[in-house]
Symmetry: C2
Subunit: 455 residues, 2 copies
């Protein structure tokens, strides 16, 4: 038995009091938001009608490496953090690998994922600013749940536009959001102009994150003392999620564990960005040579098959433009795609790091994901979310490579959440009815045609 | 801010290596099982066709205060334990009470409850004995999930008879069991003689735990190298669940916290029995004066309205007789009763402690339970199981009494699990359609009529 315990929990006194802003370490910064009207960089004032002031400040801050976590957010974090770093002794045994495998598990809270880390922060700042309500979108439902929990705690009204196909597949996820007092509207809906327009063009659409974002933003702009909040992609979300990486590094350093590979699933990039932030800064500064791997679904392959281009964040083309890896805001993933990671784009921070060669990316098909998920569940106990299982799949692949080569690498991955609300997907995997949808080049071209700037 | 952190986690090195056998401290022991044919106490040989040998030994052991936890079970426990003791600072604030409230949270594992503590032990011993398959019953589904997880881990086949109404209400719970490789059969079924008989008498029954037990036992007796395992009620289950109380006491003593009140929900009694075991031994020996409170649903009130009598453990009347508080094995709770705690009887250990005046009991209606559950979810984050919320309700009631009297009591309760699979019950609470079913005296008389011995 190694001296490393199965689970490493930090003491409350060891918990990070600062977020880590990876942009401060980046030699080239991500491009600023671009105002699509003027094609000039957005100012704070441009963003103020949509976002909270404190979040805009964080969004535009490329300089401060550490940003204090207010006490009111630290107190929220203490309800469900620190999250454990687990040594996957049982998975290592099943794979018969010389590799050491660790995972940082973010699912031990009712939202079932890491999304609560940014929800707490965003709602706290909204309350501080005197706002009374928030709007947002949710896909698989983790973000909507997380935000409802934070809104219940701090006392703010919430309306959630939930991707219609998810709302249908996950009625209980909707019920959890409602238990916390959130109002859920399946998207596209007839409650907004953009929703009505999308429904008129495509009455049978299952919806998309991009479309739900447009609806939520429209309502925020129309409503007094209301703002829009987003659970991924943006710089300030990656900042909040750096709590994962900060805890991870502190925990591993207690046991002198140095990762060779860090793996995270990537949809909008918030988990991955937060997980790797402090380690990535060290890599940029030549202090480590870690292999970072982003894993995305083959059905929505923004990093591996997308373009690094200026694009809208939403289907309705109402957001500022961001330079990111994108399939085009018109791309709608196949409705048979289980779970999250359905966003057409990717965090500008993660996109820039990938573009500059600091990390790699892999796309995996969903049957292979669920095979890994089931193996993991049976030997490590925890039933993983489909999203998280992308990282499990590649961690297993890398551990099996070590078995072939005899290398004793240290593999770390982010286990972002649990799969309790994804059982219909597990059922279709078990009964053999799950299909692997991979977009053709022609499918992708349709998405790229929606890009606003031809470069 | 008090010096007690929000969450107390034990280090792996501080985790208990022994279970605590409360019977060793009891001045009068629970009565032994009675063979209904001879009306003599059951011997180990009487029990051997149904139960694993090691578990029979534990079942009959009234003498050893500490029983070693085998390394193979300790290793399983390390996957999801220690469970945190949480100071409910936010609940205290919302209630504006001078009381200090703590809860021991057992829901941070995929089974969603404390049931895994005994499942791990029972499957480990089955494997050690060379058995190849197990049968069991499950009501709300936590026990079936826990057992499937343990069977997947140790490599044993599993058939779960799931109370039909639960299987219908919770299809995803069934899917989780199947993901871990367990076979689920809604009960009553036509796969057993007892199931066929019950269906013939009452074709529309939603089933009951007692009936599912009969079916599972019948299959175990008919199948080679197969045994039956039970998730509650029995002495050895309470023994395994003492890991909860052992960890609780170690954690609270680190911060010099001495409980005035300890509260647990009570269905079959396993959580409650395990939670209180070491503290109860001290009370029996005059070392503390803690108020222990068992909380049960008003719809299935075995302690508060049942009889302390010899009864069968199952509807089919195939088990040995146990002296316990019971509503009669013929009692079937209303199908509109959300969640677990549906068993007609109560652990003989808990029954004896209650009968001898060491603890009290309260019965609570389900709308009041869900009101407490929703309040708790919104301020403490975690969405509680309906079962666990019985304990929350009484903890809140006691804390509110302290607010009136100004007393600064220390209240500890067991939060046995999460409510992710109980959303249809939450939905009916939220939309006002939840009804409070309280059996009439006439209803109870029908159950008592099934008691096998008139005393």
């Amino acid at each position: 038995m190694s001296k490393v315990p199965y689970k490493i929990y930090l003491e409350e006194s060891e918990m990070p009091k600062q977020w880590f802003n990876v942009r401060a370490a980046m030699k080239e910064k991500p491009e600023p938001f671009i105002n699509p009207g003027t094609m000039e960089p957005c100012t704070a004032d441009d963003l103020r009608p949509v976002f909270c002031d404190a979040l805009i400040e964080q969004e535009l801050n490329n300089d401060d490496r550490y940003i204090e976590i207010p006490q009111g957010i630290q107190d929220f974090y203490k309800m469900y953090r620190p999250s454990p770093v687990t040594r996957a002794y049982n998975l290592e045994r099943i794979l018969d690998t010389p590799a050491e495998i660790y995972y940082k598990f973010e699912g031990n809270n009712t939202s079932g994922s890491h999304k609560l880390n940014s929800a707490a922060a965003q709602v706290y700042y909204a309350k501080e600013q005197g706002l009374t309500s928030l709007t947002t979108e949710t896909g698989a439902g983790q973000w909507g749940t997380a935000l409802a929990m934070a809104c219940a705690f701090y006392g703010i009204d919430l309306t959630v536009y939930m991707v219609k196909v998810s709302a249908q597949q996950k009625p209980y996820r909707k019920a959890v959001i409602e238990t916390y007092g959130g109002k859920v509207i399946p998207s596209p809906s007839d409650t907004t102009e953009v929703g009505k327009k999308i429904l008129a063009e495509n009455p049978n659409t299952g919806g998309s994150l991009g479309c739900a974002i447009s609806e939520a933003m429209e309502v925020a702009l129309k409503t007094d003392n209301c703002r829009y909040v987003l659970g991924s992609v943006l710089n300030h979300v990656i900042l909040h999620q750096s709590i994962i990486g900060q805890e991870l590094k502190t925990a591993l350093e207690k046991y002198d564990v140095e990762p060779d590979i860090i793996i995270g699933c990537a949809g909008g990039g918030s988990n991955l960005g937060g997980l790797i932030s402090p380690y990535m800064a060290d890599k940029i500064e030549g202090k480590n040579n870690i292999q970072f791997i982003a894993v995305e679904p083959a059905s929505c392959p923004s990093l591996t098959r997308g373009k690094y281009a200026l694009d809208f964040g939403d289907t309705g083309k109402t957001t500022p433009l961001m330079r990111m890896y994108t399939l085009g805001s018109g791309f709608i993933p196949s409705p048979n795609h289980a779970g999250g990671l359905r966003y057409h784009g990717m965090s500008p921070i993660v996109s820039k790091l990938y573009h500059d060669g600091y990390m790699e990316a892999r796309a995996v098909e969903q049957n292979k994901i669920f095979e890994a998920a089931t193996t993991f569940a049976r030997c490590e106990g925890t039933l993983p979310a489909p999203e998280s299982s992308h990282a499990i799949r590649v961690a297993m692949d890398e551990a099996l490579k070590c078995k072939e080569t005899g290398e004793k690498k240290t593999i770390v991955f982010g286990l972002t959440g649990t799969g309790y609300f994804d059982m219909s997907a597990y059922m279709s995997y078990m009964d053999g009815s799950m299909t692997d949808f991979i977009p053709t080049d022609e499918d992708l071209e349709k998405g790229f045609a929606s890009l606003p700037v031809k470069e």
